[in-house]
Amino acid sequence: MVAWIDFVAVLLVLANLWLLGTSRLAVCIKAVAVQAVLLAVIGVLMNAGALGVRIVLVLAISTLVKAWLLPWLLRRAAREASVQREVEPLVGFTWSMMIGAALLGVCFVIARPLHLPRQVQAGILIPVAMFTIVTGLFMIVSRKNAITQVLGYLSMENGIYAFGAAFALREPLLVEMGVLLDVFVGVFVMGIAIYHISREFDHIDTDRLSVLRD
């Protein structure tokens, strides 16, 4: 089973690099949706022995929200703001990929000495989850477009979720659904803010939101 999880983890790495290396918003949104689908596969593999109704339900709902509903919302926001691509990121796309590769290495180095509970059999999923989080953070600081930043936030959330999956952490149902609801409403509210920003400013470049300062 670990071999299969490792395989999916490698796909997750590829999705992250894809996310870092492209300028087209539609492709970025797709990459984040792919992340969410891969997370669902990981969820199934990790629980392959005891796939109860509750786990399947939680996985189904979160995949539906993260791989379909949120991408749909973001595509709509991009259309409303008539933005197709991230034009001039603070860090170029080639450099982003190279920095991404370096970060991946760093995550493996950090994850190696981690002290793990005996029952955890996660293969390379732990460093890959960390890499997904770092990818998201890197997107948020290196991109100017508001929608790409939201995608960074989502990638970070996906990474945190993968981290939880790697340790087979069982949060109570209420908390798990609460977290999902917060992420959903969060992206929804950000989408509304993006809509108003694009109407007010005729652009959604967050580095040009710089009136307020000391």
Binding site: H115, P117, Q119, I133, L137, I140, A146, Q149, Y153, M156, E157, I160, F163, G164, F167, L169, R170, E171, P172, L174, V175, G178, V179, L181, D182, V185, G186, V189, M190, A193, H196, I197, E200, F201, T206, L209, S210, V211, L212, D214
Partner: protein, 492 residues
């Protein structure tokens, strides 16, 4: 039952407010809900036995303290808000700084979000499960974001965007902290420990120390962003300066405290696991850093709402420092949280009055307030004296307690830095206060206001009286709660 009512009343009222068409009815609902919430909170003080619902929801001493602060502030903000909304209703507003016209957010949405904001903050204080604390904390960000952009123009949108993104990412790190805590809790011989505070403190010895430390750092950075600890405070001055004044009062006096409480919950777990000193040192470090950064930005501040915002960063630093030092300083920090909230809310409401009359946030364009708005001028001066820790106000007592705590626990360097930062802030704020209230006669453009409406002066005045009373006498019942809160949270 009582705890459920506390959460459900504002939730239902908030949802109802979204659909009520009649303006007067909706404003009455806002004030009535705030009053009911305060009455319910007051009953909590007399019925400590009825406050534990289960392992998930419970009101302990620390909850009670922060819940009461939130409730009192919300009532003040609701009364002020009802008047404010009546003044703003029905016409396009003109921007004070740049003179363009803009629309306001729909009043129903605004009122609804305000009530839901109360509900989520109540949930933060009443949660005894760290996962639930996280869910509630993130929910406060989401329902308060629309409140900041009530005046819908480019500056408030910028502030909202920064608030949403920075706080969501911050809180995301706190979620990572929760997961690390869950990993730390899965090493036990008797299976994983649930993330309720009760279970975690009871099985603290089984937690893995390295993962626990990682969890604390993540939570401190995450919730610290929301609390406004430097260097993660960057969203705070923008959001506080652009939000309507009663919302600034709630953000500063209630929301920051909620984030502080979330950090304290985590600290309690570390203390139970015997790692109190590790957490305490980090709190002292962040505390001093916040005070220092705030002092620097306060000296050259030209905008009076940003001035108050940076003062909040400073006071969050003081809270963090006090809790980190522990003992008497821990008690002082709890008292300080209460005092700061009351005073800062009073100041923000008074700032709202100044803004309405002078139509500017620039400190150097406001002068001679004594002649134009005498009551607000008195409140503003008293508030600024109080916030700098001058006697006889409550903050003097709590700041002194923290200083004594620092000296008795053998931290002379910390105590010295603390005093240097406090006096710098005092000079910066006192200069501003005197300029604005007295100063040369007002310009011709600002006519003296014949009558300042009751809704705009009574709420801040009563908050001021409360701060003054706490400076003169802290009731025994309150002292017990403060002491137990500081102890339960594991202040070493």
């Amino acid at each position: 039952m009582l705890v459920w009512t506390l959460i459900l009343v504002p939730t239902l009222a908030g949802l109802a407010a979204l659909f009520i068409r009649h303006n007067g009815l909706r404003r009455a609902l806002l004030v009535a809900t705030a009053a009911i919430h305060l009455v319910l909170t007051a009953t909590c003080w007399s019925r400590p036995g009825a406050l534990v619902v289960n392992d998930w929801l419970a009101i302990d001493e620390a909850s009670l303290l922060f819940l009461t602060t939130t409730s009192v502030l919300f009532l003040a903000a609701a009364i002020y808000g009802a008047g404010f909304l009546r003044r703003e209703a029905g016409h396009q507003a003109v921007d004070f700084e740049e003179g363009f016209l803009f629309d306001n957010l729909r009043e129903a949405t605004f009122t609804g979000c305000m009530l839901l904001f109360l509900a989520t903050m109540t949930l933060v204080t009443a949660s005894a499960h760290l996962g639930l604390v996280w869910v509630a904390m993130e929910a406060t960000t989401l329902v308060s974001a629309p409140l900041i952009t009530f005046h819908r123009h480019h500056r408030s949108l910028e502030a909202t965007w920064k608030y949403l993104l920075i706080c969501s990412v911050g809180i995301g790190l706190a979620l990572m902290g929760n997961f690390c805590l869950a990993v730390a809790a899965s090493f036990g011989s008797s299976g994983p420990v649930h993330l309720t505070i009760k279970a975690l403190t009871a099985h603290a010895a089984e937690l893995d120390p390295v993962w626990l430390k990682t969890a604390f750092i993540m939570a401190l950075v995450g919730y610290g962003t929301k609390m406004g600890l430097a260097p993660l405070h960057t969203w705070l001055p923008d959001a506080h300066s652009e939000a309507p004044s009663m919302i600034s009062a709630l953000l500063s006096g209630a929301l920051l405290n909620c984030a502080f409480l979330a950090i304290l919950r985590m600290m309690a777990v570390l203390a139970a696991a015997g790692m109190g000193p590790f957490a305490a040192d980090l709190m002292v470090l962040f505390g001093l850093l916040s005070m220092g950064v705030a002092a620097v930005f306060l000296i050259a501040q030209v905008d009076f709402k940003r001035l108050l915002a940076y003062s909040s960063v400073e006071h969050m630093g003081i809270l963090s420092l006090g809790i980190g030092l522990g003992g008497m300083a821990g008690f002082g920090a709890m008292l300080h949280a209460l005092n700061h909230s009351l005073t800062k809310a009073m100041l923000f409401l008074a700032a709202g009055n100044v803004l309405a009359v002078y139509k500017t946030k620039q400190i150097d364009k406001v002068c001679g307030m004594v002649k134009t708005v005498p009551v607000t001028a008195g409140l503003w001066l008293a508030g600024l004296l109080a916030i700098t820790g001058s006697p006889p106000f409550g903050l003097f007592v709590s700041e002194l307690a923290i200083l004594r705590g620092a000296l008795y626990s053998g931290h002379p360097v910390v105590a010295t830095l603390y005093l240097i930062f406090l006096s710098t802030v005092f000079v910066a704020l006192a200069r501003t206060a005197l300029r604005m209230t007295y100063g040369p006669a007002p310009q011709m453009t600002v006519q003296p206001v014949a009558h300042e409406p009751g809704w705009s002066v009574w709420p801040p005045a009563l908050l001021g009286v409360a701060t003054l009373a706490l400076g003169l006498y802290v009731p025994d019942g309150l002292q017990d709660v403060l002491r137990q809160a500081a102890r339960a949270l594991g202040a070493p």
